[in-house]
Symmetry: D2
Subunit: 310 residues, 4 copies
């Protein structure tokens, strides 16, 4: 398990909290079981969907300890090490290493204004000081810079990164990565994962290795089925399953945009759904996110019902 060569469905795991905003360990353990039993091929803790930006370091450490113990080697465990720059990321990487994860996931620097040379230096610096596989996380909506395809390929060829999670929305760029991987021997073992849960079947057709679907928390079985259908080449059935999941995804718009931002709405909806499905004990999200109102939770319930999940 120290060499994950990551592929398949790798949900970014929600972080259940108690009403007092502590990590809800029993709920987290139930969620892990739910996802592994649901067919996840790997689990990504401390990603955006995990509210990593909202969790203090103590919470982060606890999540990883629970994760490694509960997963117990059934699937690879990845840990987000999301922070502003190199030395801070390395602190998280050391904690993740100590917890026993199989790989870490790092973004470009943020908060500071970055230059491409600084982004490259950052990934090389993280990888050099951390003996875990490093996955690059391309998330311009949060980080405010895009990881250039040529940079990713160079870092991959040099063994700096083992894969990429692409949440940039640039499907042409994603396909260039997948194509380059197929054509170049020096990129063997490089994992190209998409964060786009609405285009899994088409991404897999392009040659992508797997998906990191936030919605996979709510319906892991659906994503596992979708992945299996794609691998079996049953593209029409895959498209039908994908379309069912697209309709389900509308729950992310449950929250009123006049009252809250898209993170509050989407993460609130995922947690409300997990609560409604009986997986977690409490749907609370971390501050300063705005909680869903009762009628907004009803919209989540209706979405689950339409997708056959309650």
């Amino acid at each position: 398990m120290t060499d994950p060569d990551l592929r398949g469905v790798v949900p970014p795991v929600c972080t259940p909290l108690t009403p007092e905003l502590d990590v809800d360990v029993p709920s987290l353990e139930r969620l892990i079981d739910f996802l592994v039993d649901g067919g996840a091929d790997g689990l990504f803790f401390l990603g955006s969907t995990s509210e990593v930006a909202f969790l203090p370091d103590g919470h982060r450490r606890q999540v990883l300890e629970v994760a490694v113990a509960r997963v117990a080697g059934q699937v690879p465990v990845l840990a987000g090490v999301i922070d502003m720059t190199t030395l801070r990321v390395l602190d998280h990487a050391a904690a993740a290493r100590k917890a026993g994860v199989d790989g870490i996931v790092a973004t470009a620097p943020f908060y500071t204004r970055t230059h491409p040379a600084e982004i490259e230096r950052h990934f090389r610096g993280v990888a050099a000081c951390c003996d875990l596989p490093v996955y690059a996380y391309d998330l311009p909506v949060s980080v405010h810079s895009k990881l250039a395809g040529d940079l990713l390929l160079r870092l991959a060829a040099d063994g700096v990164i083992r894969g990429v999670k692409d949440s940039s929305g640039d499907d042409g760029g994603l396909r260039r990565l997948a194509l380059a991987k197929r054509e170049r021997a020096d990129l063997a073992g490089f994992s190209v994962l998409t964060g786009a849960e609405l285009t899994v079947d088409t991404a897999l057709r392009m040659g992508v290795d797997g998906v990191v679907p936030g919605l996979g928390n709510v319906d892991p079985h659906g994503f596992a089925t979708l992945y299996r259908l794609c691998r079996a080449g049953d593209w029409n059935a895959a498209a039908a399953e994908q379309e069912r999941l697209i309709r389900l995804f509308d729950i992310v718009r449950a929250g009123d945009p006049a009252r809250m931002g898209p993170s509050s709405s989407a993460l609130g909806a995922f947690k409300a759904a997990l609560h409604l499905r009986g997986v977690i004990a409490c749907p609370v999200t971390a501050p300063p996110q705005i909680p869903l109102a009762p009628d907004e939770v009803e919209r989540v319930r209706a979405g689950l019902a339409a997708a056959g999940l309650v």
Copy 2:
């Protein structure tokens, strides 16, 4: 000193590092003395100019401990608590409280996409759980959202924030704040500080209370003189001193923009200048910033010479 009512020149203090990237305590102590002796009215540690985004939590704590001990009550000490969201900020606030600072400086949430209601909830949440004066830090270039003037005034009137450091570049908005403060009794004691070191005299004319000049690390005496001239109403002499400092500020462009970003260039130049002036032992900046090349350091030296500082 627990009630700073901040005004005057409050430099955001650089964080000297050793070649091994540890906090260089003797250099930091010399820099503190240099700034206090130079006439600083307060010191702001762990701001952008302090490379706060680049410093691990251990470094942050050490900086504050050294700061409080060395300043020893001569001037107020503010601490940046820069992090993505509420609970993470509160961890920094607790460390700052323990270190004994006089106030904390917090931005809006970042990395996550925020809504105005979430920004307000964030500041109220930070203030409610932290018995230190809170200053809002408006820095859209890093945080990617602007603190609305009406929000700041509402938070000030409610006692949530004690002041604002405005690095937004919106001088019309800054003036509206200063004007509102003058007109409204419920805003007494609210400090309006500008981060714009090139327009200190005009900002003070508008009614701003003080300035947080990154360049103040390099020439604290200049900013103290400028402030004193403004307070004395000697606006022509103030303008001349301001213009000398504007020319000196050109050192921030010492680094080649084809090789590095603006943070590497500006922070590298400030540290190179402090090194050339004999204040700090080593000009290194934290990774992934790109170091200045020798010819770039020469540009800094030339700028210092032209300003009469070497």
Copy 3:
């Protein structure tokens, strides 16, 4: 031909210019023939790839007159009416109507800061005063706002727009449009076109109706083949052809990014390729675009050679 129900390959036609920056009519006629003979299902004049932002109104009118005469009803002719706001767009729409085109393509307002209600009012205002089918052009990189999926569906259901050209890069959103169209009877006849030339096969799998490929100027036969293979369900052969076109697309990076912007590079490369293929007489682009240097043109030639086109 007054009811295009647009589908298939609809290249955005380059605008050949003389060295004196006039419209090069014989080259434009040759290009039109090249594209129609190459299998284009429609032609889109005065789009971004046509340098519409660079063409004075006289050039725009002349292009449409040549286009309508030369196409002579073989395929539908669309005309971009790209301008800042409603009344200016209506002037272009009147000229397009007079020239005899089959439909117009309009963006959201730009230059002015827009609100969603203003974007909706804009499309309704354009459609109400113009008796031609209106296609919405979603191009956030130029317009700096995204057309929301719900807005597009509402405008389509109300008969305001007949289709959309999506160059937003949001493939999840594109798929939601295609899915909604399939599920809702009131959206029959609504054309969903993608501007993403690197993901044509996967977009068609999602249910998209066609593609508007800038690269289709250079290799119309390739895109026609790709489209035909997709429609025949030969997805593996389609993927291979798509991948050949992805490699060819690298010519858009022929220009040195230190010397020029991405428009200069990409439009310069398309025109250089058309010149090298003998279709147009002169590869000049309109000012202030930077011309490709000889070694950059050689990169284009090498890309054409690798794709079997020279």
Copy 4:
């Protein structure tokens, strides 16, 4: 008058429209008289405040014809030539030349993604083909790029541009321009104008030559008084007048931001104010702007009353 050497108060003149959206010539003439009588030192037609982005070319031409005839040489007349790229701008410049204006005002290219080299080529191309003084318009909020100070100084020294209207909000940059002008003989005659109507007194202290205040439509006498007080060195009286105008400026927030964008609100408020003051016959703004509701117009009236203007 062919050599304006522009300074003082230069309002960007609103464009009165009839209910049918034609140019309301008698109202425009009254507005011109109102501004000249109110003490304007120049008039800028077809700027952002003039709704230039909303006006078809026929309206633009008519505005300039009326302007030149009505102003009749009393003050310099500038014309905005706002369009996407060089050739389109040159068409507007030719029309402005024919109308007899004293200078033109051009932005960087927009809609297309620009590179600094392309921006420079644009201004040089416009100036080379147009024998009128060219003023650069720095408006990042609309154009999405900032005119670099070094570029402006180079263009000024080379005689390409005669001045700049800075609406970038970068007061440090503005001051560097003013300082450079004072220090360099080759910049004599270069006009540095600010578009920031809330900081006129402080900008003039920095050495700026004049202001282009949108609010100057509503209260030209106030801005003329402010300018005169500054030139007389009566800075305290100037600050008081500036602060009265800052309070008046709050009318730009009359429109509900949930219903409309900031252009609709601000331009609607200026026109409502001119209507309430009896200067123009109809407060309509061009589509797709959202009209102010009656209660929003009442807010404008209250603002005027508080400023002593009705």
